[in-house]
């Protein structure tokens, strides 16, 4: 057994023969595999879940289910996945054997940006990833690598300028409509 996650009364256990899911606190389990649900590989090394959405790091990439594990879609993360964490819109996957040790997706897995020692990571063998308080923590076999997430985007002056112009226009328009209304009477 490689990994474990829980969300409410649902427990997820990643093994070397699939992903076992219990929805009753561990009393009974359903095992999901590559053959019965499309899991990327039966070696499940890392897990994250929220509601019906399950993220499974496997030796075949990152597998995501949006129906509680019935079916999975598998995504390429450039190597074997060893761990997964989800924060906001971003999916973080620790990886190895592909020359990079972290893959990050901002679009639900459709595409990933990969990170390696070139970006300051301790090694290209990633063991796990965690995100907390605006920092990304990557466990590698060459150290613990920490990155600060960019601050939330601040709207530039353009939206304010646009709103002000629109407001000014609507004032003029109202005045004109009022004038038109009074002349037609």
């Amino acid at each position: 057994m490689f990994s474990i996650y829980a969300d409410g009364s649902t427990i997820y256990a990643g093994t070397n023969s699939g992903l076992s899911i219990s929805t009753n606190g561990g009393s009974s389990w359903t095992n999901r595999t590559s053959s019965n649900s499309g899991l990327g590989d039966n070696n499940v090394t890392g897990l994250y879940a929220s509601g019906n959405t399950i993220y499974a790091a496997t030796n075949g990439g990152l597998s995501i289910s949006t129906n509680g594990g019935s079916t999975f879609t598998n995504y390429n993360v450039n190597g074997l996945a060893t761990g997964v964490y989800v924060s906001g819109n971003n999916i973080y996957v620790s990886t190895f054997a592909g020359g990079t040790s972290l893959a990050v997706s901002s679009n639900g897995g459709s595409s990933f940006t990969t990170y390696s020692t070139t970006n300051g990571l301790g090694s290209n063998t990633g063991r796990g990833v965690f995100v907390s308080g605006g920092s990304v923590y990557a466990a590698t076999d060459g150290g613990l690598s920490i990155a600060q997430l960019p601050p939330a985007p601040v709207p530039g002056p353009l939206p304010l300028f646009g709103a002000a112009t629109a407001f000014g226009f609507s004032r003029k328009l109202r005045r004109r409509l009022r004038a038109a209304a009074s002349t037609s009477c």
């Binding site: 057994m1 490689f2 990994s3 474990i4 996650y5 829980a6 969300d7 427990i11 256990a13 606190g25 561990g26 761990g83 906001g88 819109n89 971003n90 972290l102 990050v104 901002s106 679009n107 940006t113 990170y115 970006n119 300051g120 990571l121 301790g122 090694s123 063991r127 796990g128 965690f130 907390s132 308080g133 920092s135 990304v136 923590y137 990557a138 466990a139 590698t140 076999d141 060459g142 150290g143 613990l144 690598s145 920490i146 990155a147 997430l149 960019p150 985007p153 709207p155 530039g156 353009l158 939206p159 304010l160 300028f161 646009g162 709103a163 112009t165 629109a166 000014g168 226009f169 003029k172």
Partner: protein, 154 residues
């Protein structure tokens, strides 16, 4: 009419810039790497958990804890602190409880890592991972899943 066109353009532009604002990682991440020089027990880090400025690193030579956002780490071991084994495969922390899944037992500390007790979890063998939520603790081992509903007491 001219002002109408300006207004339309400006609102369209503002709508566009707002639409482009969701929390995508626009800038690439730049990492700073922490090693044994910073106090880690080993550079081979198998798992990590963080809460505020406190970082817990599961290493192959002890559990390393930083209380200053990673500037420095203190390493806790089997010999010095009673950890079940120096090979730590997973770590999780809730409140003052720290849970360490080691290759030869499941360890719990309630005083920041200074002292550890080995929980009787059943399952046995090497412990690969741990997850906790409230007082529920879930431990993955070669023997299966062990669940405690009282923070690891039983």
């Amino acid at each position: 009419m001219a002002s109408f066109r300006t207004a339309l353009l400006a609102t369209a532009a503002s709508a566009l810039s707002l639409a482009a604002a969701p929390a995508a990682l626009a800038n690439p991440l730049t990492f700073t790497n922490k090693t044994t020089t910073d106090g880690l027990g080993s550079n081979n880090v198998r798992g990590v958990y963080a809460n505020g400025n406190t970082i817990y690193a599961a290493t192959t030579n002890g559990l390393s804890i930083s209380s200053n956002g990673g500037t420095s780490f203190t390493n806790y071991t089997q010999a010095n602190n009673g950890l079940a084994n120096n090979q730590v495969n997973g770590v999780y922390a809730i409140g003052s409880n720290i849970y360490a899944a080691t290759s030869n037992g499941f360890s719990i500390s309630t005083n920041g890592g200074l002292n550890w007790t080995t929980a009787s979890t059943g399952g046995g063998g090497a412990f690969q991972g741990v997850f906790a939520s409230g007082s529920s603790v879930y431990v993955a081992s070669q023997g299966g899943v062990s669940i405690s509903l009282n923070s690891g007491t039983s």
